[in-house]
Amino acid sequence: MSKRDPNIAPTRARTVLYSIAAFFCLLGLADATYLTVIALTGEAAACGGQAGCSQVLGSAFSKMAGIPVAAFGVAGYFAAFTFAIFAAFDYARARKFFGLTVGVLFAATLWLLYVQAFLLHAFCRYCLFSAAICFLLMGLVVASPAPRPARN
């Protein structure tokens, strides 16, 4: 990670905001890790005892090139968590990378919601939880205050 930006003044609000974002990323990471594990163990069918869950996780859309989609979620949430932590510590470019990662996660979430609603006609509550996290993260990115120049 590159050094802290001396031109940007650290603000308490930004630190709190990115700490909250990091916390949401952790929730998403836990959810995605759980989904990845059940996809790898073949327990997808029994996830949460929900029919929708097994339909979604057992569908052809649940894997990309043989890799569970949830594994990409793990990578995405971990990256977002890393950037959020560094952004909270006022590291330069971390905010941009955080915004970019959340944007990718959000786009993937929209696609997965479309797949569940219109192609599979079934919803998995773990996927919906992840979608809620992504929406919250996107909200935080939009709400984050613009960096202000440091006073001399």
Binding site: T33, T36, T41, E43, A46, S54, G58, S59
Partner: protein, 225 residues
């Protein structure tokens, strides 16, 4: 304190990220180990009769079950049998026969799916999931979609499964099991035979099952005259 805090603050984000990475990997691995399906001890080749065996042939106790995938007590019994298999290990062998009751709309369909999975040597895995998910699929409008979903999540070849489900030979194996049950006066499910002795319906519970297995074991351990 400032002298300590400044270098610490510099490395703190790296420490946090490193800790989370390790925690994610560790918890993921622990969860994977806990959830990993134990390899079934069923024979690799699905028997032509539709009879499915789990456990060693030389086990002193053999439990034969005539089961219906849509019958709630059968689902409970499946769990109890699994516990018994774990508790008694090599001393116990379980044989499953299909006996789908006409009152259950999807029981035969479920039996055929499980039988089709046997063509891929995966009978017991689908058997376990079908029982585990019984409450869900029994009320579902599109049962085959759910069964196909279960099969996909277990890594079965679903296209082959669909073909096998439509294969009359697969359904014939279910019918053969049912005929076998009828010939042995089976009328309800689950019906259990412990070393060929019928377990009375009022004994079909965890305590009754344990008692029957223990009795059968003692019988086997008695010196033969």
């Amino acid at each position: 304190m400032v002298f300590l805090w400044l270098p610490m603050k510099r490395y703190l984000p790296y420490l946090i990220v490193g800790f989370v990475a390790l925690a994610t990997l560790g918890s993921g691995f622990a969860l994977y180990r806990a959830k990993r399906v134990a390899p079934a001890s069923a024979p690799k080749n699905g028997p032509a009769s539709g009879m499915h065996v789990r456990g060693k042939a030389e086990a002193p106790v053999t439990i034969e079950e005539f089961g219906d995938f849509q019958c709630p007590p059968c689902s409970l019994m499946a769990g109890e049998l699994k516990k018994a298999e774990e508790a008694y290990g090599d001393k116990l062998r379980v044989i499953f026969h299909h006996f789908p009751l006409a009152v259950h709309a999807h029981a035969r369909e479920a039996a055929i799916y499980a039988e089709a999975a046997a063509n891929q040597n995966r009978f017991w895995e689908l058997h376990d999931v079908i029982y585990k998910e019984q409450v869900i699929w029994s009320k579902a409008p599109d049962v085959p979609a759910l069964f196909n979903g279960y099969a996909t999540s277990l890594g079965l070849d679903v296209e082959r499964l669909k073909k096998d489900v439509a294969n009359p030979e697969v359904a014939a194996r279910v019918d053969a099991d049912q005929k076998l049950g009828t010939s042995r006066d089976v009328t309800s499910t689950p019906t259990l035979f412990v070393n060929t002795v019928l377990l009375p319906p009022d004994q079909i519970n965890p305590a009754g099952l344990k008692k029957a297995i223990d009795t059968a074991l003692k019988e086997k351990e008695k010196p033969q005259r």
